[in-house]
Amino acid sequence: MEHVIECKNLTHYYGNNLVLNNLNLQVERGRIFGILGKNGTGKTTTINILMGFLRPTSGNCLVFGEESHNLSPQTRQKIGLLHEGHLAYDFMTIKQVEHFYSRFFPNWKADYYWDLIGKLGLSDNHKIRNMSCGQRSQVVLGLIFAQDPELLILDDYSMGLDPGYRALFIDYLQEYVHEKNKTVFLTSHIIQDVEKVVDDTIIMGYQKLLLKMPLETLKENFHRFEFRNPRAIGVVRSDDDYISNVEYVNDKITIYSFKPLKEVVAYLKKQGVSAENITEIPMTLEEAFIGLTGKY
């Protein structure tokens, strides 16, 4: 399968602080990737490297086969970037910004832009600087759609958006990318939104990639089990093979694992832990994320 993005042994330090440690990832054409991680796990660093604003300390990142920090204008034409905070030339009006960007992209689809802008009910001469964050997000999304890029990189698109604008953003994004078979690489702190739109998830931990897999595979194979046993408090510990994470609340023990119930029970038995009343509790992606990365 053709890779639109391919990062090999990506390592980055800020001074002596290691943020990315030998990160390897590939993004296949036509897939929607959501990159999730707690603050400080290197999401923004990865995005900045992909956007070409940061050169990694070592390793490399190829976008359409070119080094991300040295993309040719032809390749940049194929990439739609949504910068954190919905960055835009806010000294321009709705009409001016469309006129400006349309000159750079031969496949410019003005209808996409004006369709989204029409929903705002604003004059064409409205300045971007006088818009709310939600309105600005629609302008930026409209510009990216009109550009008709092959790859969309959306950095924390939900930042500053109220639930209404978030839903609007997701609705339009879903329709656009599925209709046009685009590749999307996005980050967001609102995991329930990410769950609606992504095909694949990448979950980053501190200095390591915790997992990269299709969302459906994660939902099918990652489990949460709960049981009560006061004598097991502090006995059950996480390990890489059977138990990804353990939480204790009073005598309730919650286990997160990629193994099915039978195997987990057998493993606990081997550890001398009785889990007779153990049950599986279904999870949302957000709960799975917290289960994998921990609450702290």
Binding site: R76, H83, F91, M92
Partner: protein, 108 residues
């Protein structure tokens, strides 16, 4: 694409251009008025000697000397601040155009 870059610069600078052009016209008109005033009362020859012979500008029109500097600084600020504030330079870096063309160092 170069036209688009110039269009962006024009949007940023146009009010500044108008204000600075207005101030320049006003200051030049004032300067001409002052020079005529001095010529009328002191004679053209005396003024010429004063300005050229003593390497001095007329005291009251010294701002003509600093006007280009002020104009240049104003244009630089008007061009630079909207482009750089809030990380907006990132938008320009991602435009599908070479850095030389983006900075108007190359026209073709």
């Amino acid at each position: 694409m170069l036209k688009a870059i110039l269009y962006k610069e024009w949007i940023k600078l146009r009010w500044g251009v108008l204000v600075i052009a207005g101030l320049t016209v006003l200051s030049l008109a004032y300067s001409i008025g002052m020079i005529n005033y001095y010529i009328e009362f002191q004679g053209a020859f005396n003024n010429w000697m004063y300005v050229i012979g003593k390497s001095l500008l007329l005291k009251n029109i010294v701002f003509v000397k600093v006007l280009p500097l002020i104009t240049g600084l104003a244009f630089a600020l008007l061009q630079f601040v909207p482009e750089m504030a809030g990380n907006r330079m990132r938008l320009s870096y991602h435009l599908p155009i070479s850095e030389k063309k983006l900075l108007l160092f190359q026209w073709e």
